[in-house]
Assembly symmetry: C2
Homo-oligomer: 242 residues x 2
Amino acid sequence: MVSGRFYLSCLLLGSLGSMCILFTIYWMQYWRGGFAWNGSIYMFNWHPVLMVAGMVVFYGGASLVYRLPQSWVGPKLPWKLLHAALHLMAFVLTVVGLVAVFTFHNHGRTANLYSLHSWLGITTVFLFACQWFLGFAVFLLPWASMWLRSLLKPIHVFFGAAILSLSIASVISGINEKLFFSLKNTTRPYHSLPSEAVFANSTGMLVVAFGLLVLYILLASSWKRPEPGILTDRQPLLHDGE
Amino acid sequence: MVSGRFYLSCLLLGSLGSMCILFTIYWMQYWRGGFAWNGSIYMFNWHPVLMVAGMVVFYGGASLVYRLPQSWVGPKLPWKLLHAALHLMAFVLTVVGLVAVFTFHNHGRTANLYSLHSWLGITTVFLFACQWFLGFAVFLLPWASMWLRSLLKPIHVFFGAAILSLSIASVISGINEKLFFSLKNTTRPYHSLPSEAVFANSTGMLVVAFGLLVLYILLASSWKRPEPGILTDRQPLLHDGE
């Protein structure tokens, strides 16, 4: 009975993912003064929220499209379009999240891209962009041969999982960095574990739990579209709509 | 010609792994004053070196034992013992690395386990310990049935890869944290990217590259022991040595 267990996992994933986003919003709203779009620290506050939403939660959900039992039968094209569209939404959220932090830094004449968190983060976003374009070019546009698709598929799936892992590492180092910044020279420094630190640390661990669950469903579980005869896999994008 | 490409990958992995360890040693030696075992900051310096060596490099190497073509034929037991022994070495290095940081903190009356880096790190070490004991109990000791082994194997492989990913996230957030600490209130703060920051950031990215290569060989590549008839998989540990 795949569907019972599968929908339970979807429910768990959906709630875990929503909690990751809501907790991050709450952290920024309750302890860090909320949001604005004016180059101030309140503009920075969009950065953690949009990166968690984009690079982890939307990205994670988008990568599991082919685990839906409905996608195992009938034409693949609609599911490919959904897969690509959801990832594109994740990418847009990510880019807006980057604009928020770069604008804040430039506004305050602070250097960009000096911390290891930012080196890993920008590398991960770059890999995500390459992954999206390669996926679109090879698996959605009709020109690629079956040989090329079957050659690239394991690499596409691997980088799909690897990018999510790097996103989680970026989020962890980002939350860690933010807390060191924010709780420096305060009456309740980070090492005294004030409630903000406990809450933000827990949010980070939630992101890890969400990521591991996505990776498990993606890599280890048997919920996969049974490989049909290779020939049926070739759906031209631009002409006859199945 | 699996072996040609395989040994090239081993060479790449070996040199990348050695560089990760040597770069971390160099960072601590050249910029952070070297090593000691007296509760001082020089004792802390063992922490990054031993965690990179233990939780990433030795751990990564140990998990690839079954990718050696020699392990695809003949009895599995010797390779299981090698797999377990190498991971045990990784675990010992890890524990010594934890002793170094806890002793340094206690010596300086600094709080332990308050940062997200430490929460994730200690969780990862705990998962590693569970993974080792479960692996030993189910796959090395002879009592487990074939049914139980085939049930747990995908979970064992998944957590093997997941623990390595979490180790990388811990190392990244650890290097990030250390640089914020060390380059605070200095003439060349972190955000001015002094040579130490460039070097340590690059070491972090090397660790990511090493980790991704291990994960690729582990998850995506076809270098796997062909699944023999399930029956031959049951090697009793304690009696007849094949």
